[in-house]
Amino acid sequence: MSTQTERTSVSPETSAHSEARTAQRLALDGRRLKELVRAAYLWLRQQEAVVNSYNVYPVPDGDTGTNMMHTMRSAWEAIATLDEPNIGAVAKAASNGALRGSRGNSGIILSQLWRGFARSLDGKDICDAQDLAAAFQEAARTAYSGVSTPVEGTILTVARELAEAVAVAAHRTHDLRKLLEVAKDAAYDAVQRTPQMLKILKDAGVVDSGGYGLYVILEGVWRSVNGLPVETPEASVETSGLNREAESALQREGGWGYDVQYLIYARPGKPLDVDQIRADIEAMGECPLVMGDAEVVKVHVHVPDPGVPISYGARWGSLRDVVVEDMQAQSEAFVPAGLAKPVQPPPEPELPPAAVAMVAVASGAGLTRLFRELGARVVVEGGQTMNPSVEDFLGAIRRARADAVIVLPNNGNIIMTAEQAARMSEVSVHVLPTKTIPQGVAAALAFNAALPVEALLEAMRAPIAQVTTVEITKATRTVTLNGVNAQEGQYIGLVDDALRTAGDDIVEVTLAALHSAGAAHAELITLYHGNGLEAAAVEAIAERVRAAFPRAQVDLVAGDQPHYYFIIGVE
């Protein structure tokens, strides 16, 4: 790959004589950084599915590539309209954007890298080789210190090793282009070695997805510097060494037709039925997202024919902020300006102020309703499929209008995001580290707004440890983990996030996972059934569970969650 550098000219502002000029200037300014951020974002977006494929567990969640892409998109959006020569200012703006838009643990760490990078460049007009080396090192340091127990073999290792490599190289050369190539190559080497550092990666036969995502970002930067395209699918052959089966996932992108978004405002006397709208929109297409209340509902869906959701929405009320995007065209000819203007979230009616409020994360109509009824003032849409961003949390915390807010992330990959939002919020925010829906339900049941906050936190924290969580889904790829072999497409059972069973019969898999979770001695088994199972099948499985565990009370709840046939609380 390094041979590319010799013959490729650098970006629009340079020419065939660029080598000499760059060597003289040895500098990177704010405008140039902006270009690199855009390239990194676009390239990561291109490679999102590949990054997602390096998931240790063969489950349809924890999408590292998606989370990092959204984080980079937010960094880009924060600087997209800036015309600023000062690199420190651009880095700072991008860093703030990354922070607000960060999703998932990998997104949070990426935003920490940005924070250190920007802090190191603060006040600088331009960045030379020494500045760049220092900025990479400060980025890695900041990311390490942001994690309570840093683990090697992850994005942290990749960040540190590339920073070290750049620092060493900066003694030899002042050519930024060469240093960026060193960074990219060092990242690649570090990614390749992650399975040696982290056994679970080796067992699962993958490299670390967050580390790989960071490599993709640096690769995007390097491609831009070397004048290579960052927006066409063909370019992905560059990474074929790591691609494998994710190539096919990449092909699927762009085949979705239109991305449709709008707000429905209720007509006087005709309140909107959010659940009904959600159910109907979900039936229409991919990636449905319906949020709101009786007065305003935001709709987002990918459909082959944009007319269908639009005329549907118009039957409910008056439509505003209608955005229709041709995703095929978008992926072929990306228009950055369009991305800088996301649809505004619907204005929600203000809640009366409260002393203490609960904010929970859930996906699926049933689980959302459940948390609302358990007393959550605001339910943040998200979870397995779409991890909410720091900004989503900040918005939810604001809307909760309380002096103290208790957040239930209900997913291990969301806890860091919630904690980051807690640090940035003006009110007192307490994140209870609930990693699963059943843990969240157990904590939420103890919510009592009449208690003083400290006592309430104590009361809500205690039940979390009493619950074991079982999840039933389908393997997204073939893998052997913990001695369990799961073929792609088989049912798999996870117990507290670890793979325990696999098989072709959902009943057998469910019962085996429940046994492994200690259901034989449980008092209560709660089955939250998701999308994708017929009511009769759900009943039949519940009956088998009741018969297998006669000592326990078995409750059946419609969770409507995507991807997971069952999420089960055992307590």
């Binding site: 309703r369 459940l370 009824e373 049941l445 103890a446 009592n448 709660t526 009370q553 709840v557 419609a558």
Partner: protein, 292 residues
């Protein structure tokens, strides 16, 4: 004071106290009946409707039953009769949070003021708790204590009566306003059991549990805060010693407090029962020495 001219103290209460008929007669206590509206009929508790019948009807009724206080006329008749006997009247009733009995008693008192002394006391409890307060009042009155002293003491004792309950009867909880409609819906989704407690006169549902076993544990833990010599009453609409919920509760108490000698059974009465529903179960504790 007027009481020098008086011929004694008489107690008025309502059917929520569930006092034995012969005891009531022996001590000259007047018991006014709660009205129970069930299946379209209006029945008088303890007169047209006994405990077992109410429980049977409630289990099969399509709608939750509700209660109405004894009428103003009944109160006036009772007070006027006792006024004619030149008695001071202590009128002790089921918790005002359960229905309007105390309010009606106050209205009757205002009508009769000047002709005799009437003190209306919100017991802030029901069932055996109310019964124990009535018995204590009768005992003090019969010992010849002055009216003001009896009132003060009974009021003090009322502070030492506690009640905690479990109910999974969402229709009753919702109808009685103990759960918001949304929470009642939640109860149906998750099979939630409300944990209710008498607090400062109100019967509130501050917590929820998912299984009866957890609920029994909570009630037993509540009981364990008291001296084993306190009065412990298992409360249900029509409690039977072999009912699984009654046994579950008593077993949980025995496990935590083996030194408790007796957990008596106490019918909840219609007013408390209209919150808990026929399946509700609970515990009333009198943390003072009762006379056998």
């Amino acid at each position: 004071m007027a009481h020098l001219l008086r011929r004694g103290i008489r107690i008025v209460t309502d059917s929520s106290a569930n006092l034995p008929e012969d005891w009531v007669r022996r001590h000259g206590v007047i018991v006014l009946p709660q009205r129970v509206e069930i299946n379209g009929a209006m029945l008088r508790e303890g007169i047209d409707l006994d405990v077992a019948t109410l429980a049977h009807m409630a289990t099969h009724a399509s709608q939750p039953f509700v209660t109405h206080p004894p009428s103003l006329e009944e109160f006036l008749a009772a007070y006027q009769q006792l006024a004619a006997e030149r008695a001071d009247i202590l009128s002790i009733h089921v918790a005002a949070t359960l229905n309007g009995t105390v309010q009606v008693a106050q209205q009757a008192r205002e009508r009769i003021l000047g002709r005799c002394e009437v003190h209306v006391l919100d017991s802030r409890t029901a069932a055996a708790g109310l019964g124990a307060l009535v018995k204590a009042a009768v005992r003090m009155a019969e010992q010849g204590m002055p009216f003001e002293t009896v009132v003060r003491h009974v009021r003090g004792l009322a502070q030492n009566v506690f009640g905690v309950f479990l109910s999974d009867e969402m229709r009753y909880l919702e109808r009685s306003g103990r759960l918001r409609p949304a929470q009642a819906l939640l109860g149906k989704m998750l099979n939630i059991i409300a944990y209710l407690v008498f607090e400062e006169g109100a019967l509130i549902a501050p917590e929820k549990v998912r299984t009866l076993e957890k609920g029994y544990e909570k009630l037993a833990e509540f009981a364990a805060e008291f001296e084993p010599t306190s009065g412990f009453y298992a409360v249900q609409l029509a409690p039977q010693p072999n009912h699984p919920r009654v046994r579950g509760l008593i077993d949980a108490i025995r496990e935590l407090m083996p030194e408790v000698r007796r957990v008596a059974l106490s019918p909840s009465g219609a007013a408390l029962g209209s919150v808990l529903g026929p399946g509700g179960i609970g515990l009333i504790i009198t943390a003072f020495a009762e006379e056998a």
